[in-house]
Amino acid sequence: MIRVRDLEFQYDKSDFRLRVANLQIADRERVAIVGPSGSGKTTLLNLFAGIATPHRGSVETAGQDVSSMSDRARRQFRVRHVGLVFQEFELLEYLTVLDNVLLPYFLTPALKLDDDVRARAVRLAEGVEIDDKLGRNVARLSQGERQRVALCRALLTDPSVILADEPTGNLDPSSKMRVVDLLLERAQEANATLVAVTHDHEVAERFDRVLDMGTLQ
């Protein structure tokens, strides 16, 4: 579950202000958040993930109040409970497909990279049909394939919450719906809560619920 109460957030040196009085997303619910550019969609995701902290109010994600955690605690929470999918994929060009999927384990000493984890990464790759490209450098993949790699990376730690920021923003129409379907299927398989930010209403309609930033604030 994700719960927001009396949230207020403002970036330093900016007039933009985000206010959400009350928001609740149930466990395993698949929600799309829509709104125009600059409406605060990505900011809201960052607050859900604990990447940013509100000036007022609280944010609970996966049953934990991330808004009151320390930086360190939020990072540790994020590693274990949150999977992130980015619009620009944010893969490391100098790593292979498999290494990109395993990235959280390389970055976090608390996560132990063993054969079970590698096997899980291979299964995830099979699930999104990129298992034949595991040894390939990501620079040689198509946009759709890259986003599927990013999806596997987000799912590797078995998060209870998946946050996707414009996951189809850089995809061509033929890849877009395929990736959306994979995102929805994998989230359901993982019993994870899925929140996706998108400006694409076609994509939003695939989700269980659509929230408009205009009505949230």
Binding site: R75, Q76, R78, V79, E90, L103, Y105, L107, P109, R153
Partner: protein, 392 residues
């Protein structure tokens, strides 16, 4: 392998061009001062050891450095010659054992050293294959000569003419290799040793030719009377000394007037050395006596001064190179800010990111240190002979 080290390795491997350039630059800047010091130190030790092993050197008046470089290291600059009578005088004086040297000639790039048997005991040279020269026209060669020319006992080496255009000059002499010396890690390894008289034959002041009293030599006779036969230029002179013609070889004139380029003087004790030096320094013997180690110390002082300037320049360049490398790293980090932000978002701590960057730098620096170390070892192994060849 820890995750950050693995990521660092993958990063530097992927950007191998940048990594190679950085590594090479740092390698060079670390190696240069080390290499220069090792090179000069080892070369100096080697040169000094040979000079210190040679107590005194007698030569014609002139440059002491030229005398030492030619006599000890067989350099190409030839000092003015002494006469063999000076060798006899030194011997008769009883203050030092004289070992004559005549180093005027070469066989290709290898110096031909005319000397006596005493030279080999003096330099602690031993024979690896064959034996020392016994007859006129034989030679003993250093091991590097044997390797370079592919010759061994029983083969032949031909001396090189001094000038291609000097038709009236010295003719090449074909010498039989009697033996090959053991490796000594000295200029002796590159030299061809003969009896002093053989080098006089090369010089043309000793020779063998047809018997002028024989009818077959008529074409070589200019004039004949009851007491003297005068030969002309057509007389066939032998350019190889064989069993068949060795008896015809002879030396005209007084051997005391024949040339040597230097005399190694080995005094039995310090007192004799001092007395001997005093006699030469009085200046009326028509020759100079030098202490080779003193001459080499002077040369090496100059080299060390140059080394200081070189090292100072290298340090300045090095600082510039390291600053450039630092700039490259800084710009790289700046360009990767988005990557690092993503890592933090995924869950990496800022410390982890710093470890990652530090690991990348460590990989480059480690490779550079390894490279510099290897280059230094290679320099220590192969550099000094190269320096000696360049110096001499």
């Amino acid at each position: 392998m820890p995750g950050s080290l693995y990521l660092a390795w993958r990063y530097v491997a992927h950007h191998w061009i940048k990594t190679t350039i950085l590594t090479a630059s740092i390698t060079l800047i670390v190696f240069l001062p080390l290499g220069v010091r090792v090179l000069i130190q080892q070369s100096a030790e080697h040169l000094t050891a040979r000079a210190e092993a040679t107590p005194l050197l007698v030569g014609a008046p002139g440059s002491p450095l030229e005398l030492v470089l030619n006599s000890l290291y067989f350099g190409t600059e030839m000092p003015d010659p002494l006469s063999y009578a000076d060798v006899d005088s030194l011997d008769a004086g009883g203050l030092a054992q004289p070992i004559p040297l005549y180093t005027r000639f070469r066989a290709q790039s290898h110096p031909i050293v005319g000397t006596s048997l005493d030279y080999f005991a003096f330099r602690n040279l031993s024979v690896a294959d064959g034996g020392l020269f016994t007859l006129l026209g034989e030679c003993v060669i250093g091991v590097r000569v044997a390797e370079a020319l592919g010759v061994g006992p029983g083969d032949a080496i031909v001396s090189s003419p001094e000038s291609v255009f000097d038709l009236a000059g010295v003719y090449p002499l074909k010498m039989r290799v009697a033996g090959v010396l053991e490796f000594s890690d000295s200029p002796d390894d590159d030299a061809i040793f003969t009896d002093l008289k053989t080098t006089w034959v090369i010089a043309g002041i000793g020779h063998g030719h047809q018997d002028l009293t024989d009818a077959s030599a008529a074409a070589g006779v200019l004039r004949r009377d009851s007491m003297t036969i005068t030969a002309n230029a057509a007389v066939v002179q032998y350019n190889e000394i064989t069993e068949a013609n060795i008896a015809s070889f002879h030396f005209h004139g007084d051997l005391g007037s024949y040339p040597v380029t230097a005399i190694i003087a080995v005094p039995p004790d310090q007192r004799s050395a001092t007395i001997l030096r005093g006699r030469f320094e009085e200046g009326d013997l028509g020759a100079q006596i030098v202490v080779p180690s003193d001459v080499m110390d002077e040369l090496l002082r100059t080299v060390l001064t140059v080394q200081t300037f070189v090292l100072a320049a290298v340090v300045v360049i090095g600082m510039g190179t390291l600053a450039t490398a630092g700039l490259v790293f800084g710009l790289s980090i700046r360009a990767r800010q988005r990557e690092f932000t993503t890592m933090v978002k995924i869950g990496a701590s800022p410390a982890s990111v710093r470890w990652l960057v530090a690991s990348e730098m460590a990989v480059v620096l480690s490779a550079a240190m390894l490279g510099a170390t290897l280059l230094t070892f290679v320099t220590a192994a192969y550099g000094p002979p190269l320096i000696r060849a360049l110096l001499l």
